[in-house]
Amino acid sequence: MKSIDKRPKYLNLFKIRLPITGIASIYHRISGLILFLSIPFSIYLLQLSLSSEAGFKQALTVFSLPWVKLILVLFLWSFVHHLFAGFRFLLIDQNIGVSLANARMSARFVVFAALVVTLIISGVWIL
């Protein structure tokens, strides 16, 4: 189909200002992609940790490497945000919090809470 629409496309990602509900949504997508990438690592670690006593120790020491910790914080944020935002979507499916005001409030809560929980867990267990 040939487009006759001459309106300029304005898709500079750094200029687009998403509303908070849009931010919660695109983070849900990005965190989902990151979690997808983490699946093979999780299977590998499961295999290693169950292989032998030495394998189990090796799986634990992987976590103490600085650059692994950094990736782990990213995976952690992805998991927490995906969980919270997913729970929010399930509530919206049940017609809970559908109004614009409530949707904005819950989106703000999800984005903020995911960051706070990630920082707390990172501080206690990872770093």
Partner: protein
């Protein structure tokens, strides 16, 4: 809405797998907290129980199905033209099936006959 509708089935599958993934993962975290520090023996004993093995297979099956639906959504939205999307979707299906097979091999190794 009929469950015969393709999109409705996918929608429901995505939510059911999401709930199962959340329950399994959070349960595992709670177990780790109550059994801290986790040792090789306690970890191996937990996972190699037949019930936990089945629950773990279901967990990964849910993860892989959930990933298929989610990644497919992303590819359908951004991967253009259709030929590129087709190649990426095929690669995705291959990767997910490979991961399922890998997990199955690990689990088979844990089953005591």
């Amino acid at each position: 809405m009929s469950l015969q509708a393709q999109g409705m089935r996918t929608w429901l599958l995505q939510r059911l797998t999401a709930i199962y993934i959340a329950i399994y993962f959070l349960s595992l975290i709670v177990w780790c907290i109550f059994n801290s520090p986790v040792t090789y023996n306690s970890w191996y004993t937990l996972i190699s129980q037949p019930v936990v093995l089945v629950l773990t297979i279901l967990f990964y099956l849910s993860v892989l199905i959930h990933a298929w639906v989610g990644m497919r959504d992303i590819l359908v939205d951004y991967a253009k033209p259709t030929s590129v999307r087709f190649v990426l979707l095929t690669g995705l299906a291959f990767a997910l099936t490979a991961m399922a097979t890998w997990l199955l091999l690990i689990v088979i190794g844990l089953v005591k006959v």
